[in-house]
């Protein structure tokens, strides 16, 4: 099997928008709040079908989050949708105080996350968001891998009583296999099993890890691929279990190597005295290279081939 034999789905962002429409159709309390971002959030049809359920604040991310917190406190089920780069930086104090500290169950939806905006450059990249939100109490961080996880995450967020940050890319994603078709925030999903090396990945990089696993399989190396869709709270049991089962661990994320999934896993492993060969693959601490999303990821070894080579080097 190759990654190409998997069926191709839509962009996770499109699945988010479609799922939100389904939910909004059943519940008029569900609102989409946007900062002139309904187009990039694929919420044009939502706005047309539910004009009473879309709140537009213009290009004002701080106000977007503050208003969303106010709406939530008055009983509305709000999805605040804005490019992840602005939502997680410009509006950070509102996320910290109005949403997380005030415990308002707003779902913050960071769109075109990671380096999805490619050559638009660092202003538009969000390779810091997971690190920032991990350090804030009372906000869950969920980075779905494929269409299935995207849909399930949106449904779970709509029922949640706590603040959540959802992070979506805009590239069409393959529909990944998984051992069990279940989704629960805080519980990792196993995509495939293997005892030689494990890839613990999140978001769009899970498909790349799976591609690497297929390349390794051709050489008789059994790789486990885990979708750690919830980076906070991290499924630490799964990390420990994986370290005990596999000879090496590679974490993969479309995020800075500082403060993201990789360091979260490393922290657990060190404190549990599980000293397996370990490598964090992500965006390094440097001026990010110019290119499309795929070119940037390839440049830093966040690709099927790059991860294959990292695994070979580690084993």
């Amino acid at each position: 099997m190759t990654i190409k034999t998997l069926t191709m789905g839509k962009a996770n962002l499109e699945v988010f928008a479609a799922t939100l429409m389904e939910l909004a159709d059943k519940d008029s309390n569900i609102l989409a709040a946007t900062s002139d971002s309904r187009g990039s959030g694929k919420l044009g049809p939502f706005g047309e079908k539910f004009p009473e359920q879309i709140v537009e604040v213009g290009i004002a991310e701080q106000n977007l989050v503050g208003v969303s917190a106010g709406l939530a406190s008055a009983g509305k089920n709000v999805f605040a949708v804005s490019p992840a780069c602005f939502l997680s930086a410009r509006a950070l104090e509102q996320v910290k105080n109005d949403v997380a500290y005030s415990n308002q169950p707003v779902t913050l939806v960071g769109i075109s996350a990671g380096v999805s905006y490619g050559a638009l450059g660092t202003t538009h990249h969000s390779t810091h968001d997971v690190a920032v939100f991990r350090a804030i109490h009372n906000i869950q961080v969920v980075v779905p891998a494929d269409n299935y996880e995207a849909r399930e995450a949106v449904i779970a967020a709509s029922k949640s009583k706590v603040p959540i940050f959802l992070k979506f890319g805009k590239k069409p994603m393959p529909n990944l296999p998984r051992l069990e078709n279940t989704f629960e925030i805080g519980k990792a999903s196993t995509i495939c099993e293997g005892g030689d090396v494990a890839f613990i990945a999140c978001g769009e990089t899970v498909a790349l890890a799976y591609e690497a696993a297929l390349l390794l399989e051709k050489e008789g190396i059994q790789a486990e691929v885990i979708s750690m869709h919830t980076v906070s709270p991290l499924d630490s049991e799964k990390v420990v279990e994986t370290a005990k089962k596999c000879r090496a661990i590679i974490t993969v994320e479309e995020h800075s190597v500082n403060g993201g999934l990789g360091e979260a896993c490393a922290s657990i492993l060190m404190q549990e005295k599980l000293y397996v060969p370990f490598k964090i693959v992500g965006i390094p601490d440097e001026d990010t290279v110019t290119g499309s999303q795929t070119e940037i990821l390839n440049h830093y070894g966040i690709s099927g081939d790059g991860l294959y080579r990292t695994a070979k080097g580690l084993l």
Binding site: A60, Q62, G66, V67, A69, G70, L71, K76, Q94, S102
Partner: protein, 303 residues
């Protein structure tokens, strides 16, 4: 409430959805003296607090909670209650004292304020019953209040949302994002009250980084702007009970106040922004407030 409901227990129905108490102006003036004495007591005990701003906004909080909001511990869970978000969170001591008086918690709890493991933090927190939002970082309350007001419009309820802003706080740009959006959505159930004491920690607003003209700025954003003496109980009562100041527009009430109001040596002095009185100063403050109380009572008897 929304016409016909009973959220405003003890209140009298008026043209708008706001409570109107049976308190006389004198009774409310006496409450202000009581609140000022209490907040100074707990600031002294905690050896911390934002004294000047507490004293400038005491009358505003008094009128809001005793004559306007109609919120009580019993009705606080009602979704479309009238709400108050204290954007200038540093004046929390005044808010705590008023909430205690309204029965949200025993006033003696405030003896723990700012102490190790106390839930009475130095800025508003929802750990304390009666507090709507965790505030203290400036420039947040107006957006939050606009969101609540928008929800009320969506649900076609008639509750009002109030927020109290500091004048130094007006330098925070997020206020203007919220001001623009509130006018766009015609949130005439949104009322921002500016505690216009003209001082911030560094000095006179006008000299630090001038926010003026405040009225023209907000009018340009599409707000209705009214000015009152923010330390006058009758003036405050009147302005609140004439809401909305204009249909389809949010209202800014510029409440002209005196920082440190009620204590002679604190009045209009920037050093009392977060000053804690010495034992001697504390006694003088209490003596002055006691004298004011006696004067108010005597005046009422004479009249």
């Amino acid at each position: 409430m929304y016409r016909g409901e009973t959220i405003l227990s003890g209140g009298i129905r008026k043209e708008n959805s706001l409570a109107m108490s049976q308190y006389t102006d004198l009774e409310l003036q006496l409450k202000s003296v009581k609140y000022r004495k209490a907040l100074l007591k707990y600031i002294k005990l905690a050896n911390a607090g934002h004294t000047g701003g507490d004293l400038s906004c005491t009358d505003i909080l008094n009128v809001l909670y005793n004559d306007v909001l109609g919120v009580t511990p019993e009705n606080f869970a009602i979704r479309h209650r009238n709400r108050f978000v204290q954007s200038k969170g540093h004046s929390v001591e005044a808010l705590y004292v008023v909430l205690a008086d309204k029965g949200f918690f025993p006033e003696s709890d405030l003896e723990t304020m700012c102490q190790y493991q106390s839930k009475y933090v130095g800025h508003p927190t929802r750990k304390v019953k009666g507090i709507e939002f965790n505030t203290g970082a400036l420039g947040h309350g107006l957006s939050i209040a606009a969101g609540i007001a928008l929800a009320a419009k969506m649900d076609k309820t008639e509750n009002y949302v109030f927020t109290l802003l500091g004048d130094g706080e007006l330098a925070e740009g997020s206020n203007y994002e919220a001001a623009m959006m509130a006018a766009h959505y015609k949130l005439d159930n949104l009322v921002a009250i500016l505690d216009h004491n003209t001082l911030q920690i560094t000095g006179r607003n006008r000299e630090v980084c001038s926010p003026y003209p405040i009225d023209e700025k907000f009018k340009a954003f599409g707000w209705e702007v009214v000015s009152v003496d923010g330390n006058s109980i009758p003036e405050l009562r009147k302005v609140f009970h004439e809401l909305p100041a204009e249909k389809s527009k949010p209202t800014l009430i510029i409440a002209n106040t005196v920082k440190g109001k009620g204590v002679s040596y604190m009045e209009d002095e920037k050093k009392w922004h977060h000053g804690v009185p010495s034992d001697e100063q504390y006694k003088q403050a209490m003596d002055e407030l006691d004298a004011l109380e006696k004067k108010l009572v005597k005046h009422s008897i004479v009249n």
